[in-house]
């Protein structure tokens, strides 16, 4: 069997519904999406979103994510501080979940996407399958980073109801939501088909 892509055969694949259209069709006849052979300016857009994510990652980690007020005393907590607190309360499992979701996942996601962009741009013919798996991974795990923002939202609402403690959302919460959103946009604007383009597929047996 000859390995051939839809583009080489003269078709455009719709990324939403998977329908093949002739190369000169502008709008997908099945789902009305605007068609392009590959996502327009995929690498540029991905890189731009990634830069934004890296910039937002700094305030997200160094500024406090929430303030705790008790008897006119203020405490502020950063994301890392929250993880350390949980660890000291011996909630090890939850501490690991938060640590993974808030600190490890965003970094890994940014690194993987940077690697994908660079590898597509410069050396094209290594580890395609691994890179595909990596890309799929970034798409799946990205949303789970939002967990810390939701924790703040719940705590803020709970302690506003009454009691001696008040919790106020900090500036890092919005920055962190921004990190999650921008990395999700970065993953979405990366076109995984670029990993496999320029591979010499003609006549290759599979």
């Amino acid at each position: 069997m000859l390995v051939k892509t839809a583009l080489e055969a003269g078709y455009i694949t719709c990324q939403t519904c998977g329908k093949l259209s002739a190369i000169d069709v502008v709008k997908c006849p099945l789902c009305y999406r605007n068609l392009a052979p590959r996502q327009l300016k995929s690498l540029q857009n991905t890189l731009a979103w990634l830069c934004t994510a890296i910039l937002l990652y700094l305030p997200a980690n160094f500024l406090p994510i929430m303030f705790t007020q008790q008897f006119s005393q203020y405490y502020s907590a950063t994301i890392v501080g929250g993880v350390i607190d949980l660890w000291q309360q011996q909630a090890y499992f939850i501490a690991i979940v938060i640590f993974m979701a808030s600190i490890v996942v965003p970094i890994i996601k940014i690194v993987i996407l940077l690697w994908l962009v660079v590898s597509v741009k410069y050396y094209r013919e290594h580890h395609q399958k691994q890179r595909s798996i990596m890309y799929r991974l970034t798409e799946i795990v990205g949303r789970w980073s939002m967990i810390d923002v939701f924790v703040v939202a719940i705590l803020v609402a709970l302690f506003q109801l009454g009691g001696v403690i008040t919790i106020i959302p900090g500036p890092a919460a919005l920055a962190f939501a921004g990190v999650v959103a921008t990395t999700m946009f970065a993953a979405k604007s990366f076109d995984s088909r670029l990993i496999w383009d320029h591979v010499n597929t003609e006549g290759k047996q599979h």
Binding site: C31, K129, R136, G142, V149, A153, Q160
Partner: protein
């Protein structure tokens, strides 16, 4: 053109898979899922989406968390997590929270019913069904109800030592809602959904149906 399909992740041109009920198809080159087991089907998806809608309704009208503070019982409902952020002038964050945990999950359930009910029972699409379906597939990744649920568990662990907090009816409804939404989305196979949509469009145009 209809006798070929392409892998969405690497654009490899392949023949449409012919599978029995327990087989899934993966791209031979990049191993992306092409179509999942067909006993995960659109009927299940519709059923779960309908139950999800009802549960979401329940989740909106009962206390989510119950806070017992010095004999005073205080209720927090589902919307309050977003609403309190709004009161603290975090308007954009409040908007994102409301959309991610209530708005989008609810809309996804509603859209699924809007799309699948006429497809399955009436063999047609309701008003701008194709556009609605495209938007559905583009925004489904932004629904974060299951992440919120994990967030609730983390918050409860964090404050267990500080306060007496119990979960209310709305919490359990939301748990079931998350289960239903996940099941509805897992049973919705992209390839089969669009294949079926195409057949309905052909039917409406009076073309030969294969």
């Amino acid at each position: 053109m209809d006798d070929k399909i392409a892998c969405l992740e690497c654009d490899l041109l392949i023949a449409p898979p012919i599978l029995n009920a327990k087989q899934s198809a993966y791209c031979p080159r990049c191993h992306a899922l092409i179509t999942a087991k067909s006993y995960n089907n659109l009927q299940y998806s519709l059923a779960f989406a309908l139950s999800g809608l009802l549960l979401m309704l329940v989740a909106n009208f009962f206390p989510f968390l119950i806070f017992d503070s010095q004999g005073q019982i205080l209720n927090m409902n589902l919307w309050q997590s977003a609403w309190t952020l709004y009161q603290y002038e975090e308007h954009f964050l409040a908007f994102l929270t409301a959309v991610f945990i209530i708005g989008l999950p609810f809309l996804l359930c509603f859209t699924l019913v809007y799309l699948l009910f006429p497809m399955i029972f009436l063999r047609k699409l309701w008003f701008s069904g194709q556009t609605v379906a495209r938007v559905f597939f583009e925004v489904r990744i932004w629904s974060m109800s299951e992440v919120f649920l994990l967030g609730v568990l983390v918050s409860l662990t964090k404050i267990m030592t500080m306060a007496d907090v119990r979960v209310g009816i709305s919490f359990w409804a939301y748990v079931l809602f998350v289960f239903c939404l996940s099941a509805a989305l897992a049973n919705l196979d992209r390839y089969r959904f669009w294949h079926y949509t195409q057949r309905i469009i052909n039917l409406q145009r009076g073309h030969h149906v294969s």
